[in-house]
């Protein structure tokens, strides 16, 4: 922890960063995101097992982009989001300094994006057993059961769009769900509109989602929405070999094609 604070203080003094996104102590137990703007505030920064949020989501905020030189601290999922966003040319106007703490609790400050790539590729995360099990469970259900399963879950959705707000990949200034001419998705939180919303979200994130699981974790009514995008990712990597957040020059599977793509349903 001290190493983190010292290093960040050093970066501030050198002028490498003018804003640091990290964690500070939250209310009771836990950690909340914090924005450090000067050396004096560096003492706030902490690291513990509660630091799970994907801080990459803040990198799109105009206030953060204004800072130009941004330091960010995060786990592998965060690093993956940063790489994926870099491959989507999102950070052309800010300089990033990335740091992490590895599995042995050692602090790492990356000198370049190439180093981040190397680290992510060496520690490329897989789906958790829990997620795999749930996907497997849903896959083995009959179509009717799957429909009922998702229907029950989606009927509880209150359309708070927390899943969108927390997602580092959802950065469109105007989302399709807010478009009202035409009204693509019903405004009220009815099951059919909810289902459309989640279908749309999963489709727009297919091949871009980096499986951080934030959307499922944040959902106030406990819908495992991250399963949809996780399933998409499994399919995409199987069929097109796409690996999201693997490098800063990743393509986007749905933005490219292969004339030899195999499908069995088009007549």
């Amino acid at each position: 922890m001290e190493q983190l604070q010292n290093k960040v203080a050093e970066l501030f003094e050198k002028g490498t960063i003018s804003l640091m996104i990290g964690f500070q102590d939250g209310m009771s137990k836990g950690a909340v995101p914090c924005f450090v703007e000067s050396v004096e505030q560096v003492k706030l920064l902490i690291y513990n097992s509660y630091c799970k949020n994907n801080l990459a989501v803040y990198l799109h905020k105009p206030e953060v982009k204004q800072a130009k030189k941004v330091g960010i601290f995060g786990n592998v999922a965060t690093l993956r989001s940063i790489l994926q966003l870099l491959s989507e040319n999102q950070f052309w106007n800010i300089e990033l300094t990335v740091m992490t703490i590895n599995a042995n609790q050692e602090f790492i400050l990356f000198e370049s994006i190439a180093e981040v790539e190397k680290y992510v590729q060496a520690n490329f995360p897989q789906l958790t057993d829990e997620e795999k099990e749930l996907i497997e469970k849903i896959n083995t259900m009959s179509r009717q059961e799957r429909w009922e399963y998702w229907k029950d879950l989606f009927s509880t959705c209150i359309k708070c769009y927390a899943c969108r707000a927390v997602c580092p990949m959802c950065y469109c200034p105007q989302c399709t769900v807010e478009s009202n001419q035409p009204q693509w998705i019903k405004v009220s939180a009815q099951t059919s509109g909810n289902m459309e919303w989640h279908t749309m979200r999963a489709m727009h994130l297919a091949g871009r989602c980096i499986n951080c699981g934030e959307c499922g974790r944040i959902c106030p009514v406990g819908i495992p929405v991250h399963l949809l995008t996780a399933k998409m990712n499994l399919d995409l990597s199987k069929e097109f070999g796409s690996k999201t957040g693997y490098s800063a020059s990743n393509g986007y599977a749905l933005n490219s094609f292969n004339p030899n793509d195999k499908e069995g349903f088009i007549r």
Partner: protein
């Protein structure tokens, strides 16, 4: 009671399938009248949200059709579309959506007969499947938990 007549929406590309449907017409091929054709510049333009919208507005089946691979007027529109459909189809299948109701096909401008056959086949299939009430009933069930029976019309 009269026989159920399905409403089928066809999203077709301007250059191949629309011309194919035109050919079916000029060659006086007879096919089911249940289909409503919507013309698009290219299959690459057919957004998945349009399919959702069609189901939302009460269509019972959907046909999506365009140029054969390698025949796209814009070189690669149908290749992109194909990838998108592969992903979309596996997603809605995972969500338990009835994928039987969406038919994907390649129909070229010369295949008027294939188009007529396709429409007939899909109409027969959807007629057997019956009205698509699953999607419409979603809201009734969530609003009125006491009304356990499905509203079918």
């Amino acid at each position: 009671m009269s026989q159920f007549e399905p409403k089928i929406v066809a999203f077709v590309c301007n250059w191949c399938t629309y011309a194919g449907a035109d050919l079916a017409g000029t060659s006086r091929a007879k096919y089911a009248t249940n289909v409503r054709i919507i013309r698009f510049p290219c299959t690459g333009r057919i957004d998945f949200m349009l399919l959702m919208k069609a189901f939302q507005n009460g269509s019972d089946g959907i046909i999506i059709s365009g140029c054969h691979p390698n025949d796209c007027h814009y070189t690669s529109g149908n290749f992109h579309a194909r990838r998108r459909w592969m992903v979309f189809r596996s997603l809605i299948e995972f969500m338990g959506f009835d994928t039987e109701r969406i038919t994907f096909s390649w129909v070229s401008a010369a295949e008027g007969a294939k188009w007529a056959d396709l429409v007939n086949e899909v109409t027969t299939k959807v007629r057997e499947l019956g009205p698509f009430t699953e999607f419409k009933n979603l809201d009734y069930n969530s609003f009125n938990q006491l009304d356990n029976g499905a509203i079918t019309k």
